[in-house]
């Protein structure tokens, strides 16, 4: 595991933050950390990168305890509320951060990263003259300066236009291809869905769902069937493999827990003598899943 936490907790006077978070992330993964505003996402990231001290529990990055100099050598971080010294030019800012890493000859790397984040030609402008999006791009370049094993991106596209968002997505994919681990903190669900392998959903400081994205989504597969000549016995058989069964306008719709149930249900229908005219399966989006899980959690709270 490149990143692991054990009952990691950060509370502010017993409130806010997050509690008992247990997460394990394999190397080379893009991990999405989702949650509504104030759920504890940024607090978790700040704790992982050593800006906040945990109240209790443990966390490791590449085997090193969080907050230590060794663990900090493994990471890159793009903060949500980014702000850089605006009296510097883009290139000076990169050089300053390279010097903080004690990089011997950073110029080639700086050029490479400026090119990656598409700021070539703007490197000699002062940061105070950068747009918000440009500042976010330079922040991303800074986060990658030390060639980190784990990159924490806290809302990395919040200030970017659609083209910028695509660029960031491409960069994340490239990092994954290079074997890097990306921890993506975002509430842009479509973005997470496009790039993440695994996700965790946090609400009120607690992780309420975690796993591979495809597994989480497959739990919410809807099936729509158009059948005729069926009887109650058939419905009873289907209900053993499905739930939330609704019959409306000649269509039978239900949810299944496992995609492998679909051929089994089709066989049951055909074997029962009913006529099967149409069968569609639709996997819910991350947004559906998120609303479903967070909504239920809100009901509980």
């Amino acid at each position: 595991m490149i990143l692991e936490t054990q009952n990691l907790t950060k509370q502010f006077d017993g409130k806010g933050g997050f509690k008992d978070v247990n997460i394990s992330i394999d190397s080379g993964m893009v991990f999405g950390f989702l949650g509504p505003n104030g759920a504890g996402k940024s607090t978790f990231v700040k704790t992982m990168v050593g800006l906040l001290h945990p109240t209790s529990g443990f966390g490791w990055i590449n085997g090193f305890s969080i907050g230590t100099i060794e663990s900090k050598r493994q990471i890159g971080f793009l903060p949500e509320n980014f702000k850089y010294y605006d009296w510097m030019t883009g290139k000076e800012l990169m050089k300053f951060h390279a010097e903080l890493y004690k990089m011997k000859n950073p110029y080639k790397k700086i050029e490479e990263l400026l090119d990656l984040v598409k700021l070539k030609g703007h490197e000699n402008k002062k940061i105070k003259n950068y747009s918000k999006g440009m500042q976010q791009r330079i922040g991303l370049a800074i986060a990658l300066l030390n060639d980190p094993e784990v990159i924490f991106l806290d809302e990395p596209t919040s200030a970017l236009d659609p083209v910028g968002r695509i660029d960031v997505r491409e960069i994340i994919k490239r990092l994954k291809d290079d074997g890097k681990t990306v921890f993506l903190n975002s509430h842009l669900l479509s973005e997470v869905e496009m790039v993440c392998d695994e996700v965790a959903i946090i609400n009120h400081g607690h992780v309420i769902a975690e796993g591979k994205l495809e597994n989480l989504l497959s739990k919410n597969t809807y099936v729509e069937m158009v059948i005729s000549d069926y009887d109650s016995e058939l419905i009873e058989k289907i209900s053993k493999l499905a739930y939330d069964i609704v019959f409306k306008d000649g269509k039978l719709t239900f949810k299944i827990k496992d995609k492998d149930s679909i051929p089994e249900i089709a066989k049951i229908v055909v074997d029962s003598g009913a006529k099967l005219y149409q069968l569609n399966s639709k996997t819910s989006s991350l947004e559906d899943l998120f609303i479903n899980i967070v909504g239920k959690d809100e009901d509980v709270c």
């Binding site: 700040k46 001290h53 900090k72 903060p79 980014f82 903080l100 922040g139």
Partner: protein, 284 residues
Amino acid sequence: MLTITKYTIKEMIKKRAFLLIAILTVGYLFIYGYGLSLAFHSSNSFTGNVPDIGKILLESQLLSAGLYFSNFIVAFLIVLTSVGAVSGDVESGAIYALLYKPLKRYGYVLGKFIGLGIIITVYSTLLFLSVIGLNIAFGTKVYLELGNILRALFFFDLGPVVLLSLVIASSSIMSTVNTGVLAVMTYGIAMIGGILEQMGSFSTDATSQGLSNVGIITSLILPTDVIFRKMNAELLTQNTGLSFLAQGPFGGTSQPSPYMFVYIAFYICFLLYYGARKFEKRDL
């Protein structure tokens, strides 16, 4: 730490505030020099072959006043440039991109202190030498020897370092506004305490002892004023033995004991240690 020091110095130089300070300082020195030229050449300073003592006293007071207000300017420069040294980065969020890196937090605090300390010491030295230079250029009759000047310069530069240590420690713990209030108030208290102590030194009754005690207490809170008095005494009386030259509101009649300088060394180290330690444990 050295990177933070280097870029703290760069920031001070690059920011226009520094240029403004330089221009205003030249203006201040010009007015001071003009005042000296009027005062020094208003009448003949010799009565036959004997220097006029009253004239020397006036010139020593002008020198002390020049240094006193220069010291005041340096103090305000510290307050204006350094109150947000650490807290400003925390409040703006610039700290997030710095301290997730393999950089010790105490290294960041000390780097800021050293960087600002270098800039302020250079400025303070230039201001001190300019004031002394103007007095010499206009033909002061106050005896100024190189040894005295260098010893006085040491104490003139020490005061700002003490104030800076308080400001950096406070900035590492509190907000920029609170640090500003703390710095101005403690500096003011030290200044008033110093003046009261000077007044107390003129007589020997119980009231004067009380005034001296007030001065000692305020010197313990912030020893900038007592350092200035020591500087003044080093410059004006140590060689000549003419203690009256260091009298007056800006003078250094009341001398701190050597233990006070042990306390000052401890004061700087303790504040930096305490500020850095608190900052280490702070949630950002």
